[in-house]
């Protein structure tokens, strides 16, 4: 068990292993997303009340799911880095922040666009929307902290603490639709009950959620790999790795 833990903590091992996972994960993500988008846009029946604007759900809900799941990943990696001083965990935390920020941005923006034809307004200070905005700022805070220290160790510690403190916001987001019942509708999908959607509408949503999970994994791995290269640039294996690629740095110059 501990040997496995140490191996997983080795950036070099992760770089090499993840190179083998990437093609399969990318393929899965591409297939799920393509099928989900075509199904959701063209083949799912339109909503009785909302008409076709409801098709935004196929981006809005998966992006929101991953915005939250991404926060767990970031806070968990931050905690592992803080407690066990695992370097790879620090790199994962740093990489997860901008990805989570973009996904939260997509969730907020598609929600705003969807709000216009459905509620008659782009924005309202509803509890769910406001707590998602706080999540967005937490991601931005971690990104800012990463860039405001000259020492990477201090930056990692500070952003790990911020992301752990920010965990308080997560249950608020989940419960906001039940505690303050305003405009945002309650959760469509619950683990404990059957979904409150027709299966014809729900199946493409499930495909999109799976696609977003695979997509998230691909992007997190890609970003972490670049971070590994940058931090390990002085090691032997990175110095050998850069020689394998052809030297194009002078192309275009005479």
């Amino acid at each position: 068990m501990w040997q496995w833990f140490h191996r997983l903590g080795s950036p070099r091992w992760f770089y090499q292993a993840s190179g083998k996972w990437l093609p399969w994960l990318s393929l899965l993500a591409a297939v799920f997303l393509c099928v989900g988008v075509v199904w959701g846009l063209g083949f799912a029946p339109q909503d009785a009340k909302q008409g076709n604007s409801f098709r935004i759900i196929y981006i809005h809900v998966p992006a929101s799911f991953l915005a939250l799941a991404g926060y767990y990943v970031m806070a968990f990696a931050g905690a592992v880095g803080l407690i066990w001083k695992m370097k790879l965990a620090d790199m994962v935390m740093k990489s997860a922040a901008p990805i989570g920020a973009v996904l939260t941005f997509i969730a907020l923006l598609t929600g705003a666009i969807w709000g216009k034809p459905t509620w008659g307004t782009y924005w309202i200070w509803d509890a769910r929307i406001t707590s998602m905005l706080v999540l967005f700022f937490l991601y931005l805070g971690v990104i800012a902290l990463q860039h405001s220290y000259s020492s990477q160790d201090s930056a990692s510690k500070a952003s790990a603490v911020l992301s752990l403190v920010g965990m308080v916001n997560i249950p608020i987001i989940y419960k906001s639709v039940d505690w303050w019942y305003t405009l945002h509708q309650p959760a469509t999908i619950k683990f404990t009950e059957a979904p409150s959607m027709h299966p014809d509408m729900f199946q493409p949503l499930l495909v999109m959620i799976l696609g977003f999970y695979c997509f998230y994994a691909v992007v997190l791995i890609l970003t972490t790999r670049v971070e590994i290269l940058h931090r390990e640039r002085r090691t032997r294996w990175v110095q050998d790795l850069v020689l394998e690629a052809p030297d194009n740095s002078n192309s275009g110059k005479i």
């Binding site: 083949f43 935004i56 997509i106 598609t110 666009i113 290269l229 850069v242 030297d247």
Partner: protein, 60 residues
């Protein structure tokens, strides 16, 4: 079964086309950026460090 009668119908989305397509387009651009940004940075890194390393090796 396909829900729309024509391509034009599909683009119009029953009057909601503007909302649906802008949401999908902006999301697609953001997701594309998420994939491209690490790929571009990786390429730049390998070019820069690889170039440095080759110069060092040539000097030795």
């Amino acid at each position: 079964m396909f829900q729309f009668e024509s391509v034009n119908d599909f683009i119009q989305m029953g009057g909601h086309g503007y909302y649906v397509w802008s949401a999908y387009f902006i999301s697609l651009s953001a997701l594309t950026w998420l994939v491209m940004s690490p790929l571009i940075r990786r390429r730049k890194f390998i070019q820069e460090v690889g170039h440095q390393r080759r110069r060092e090796l040539a000097r030795q």
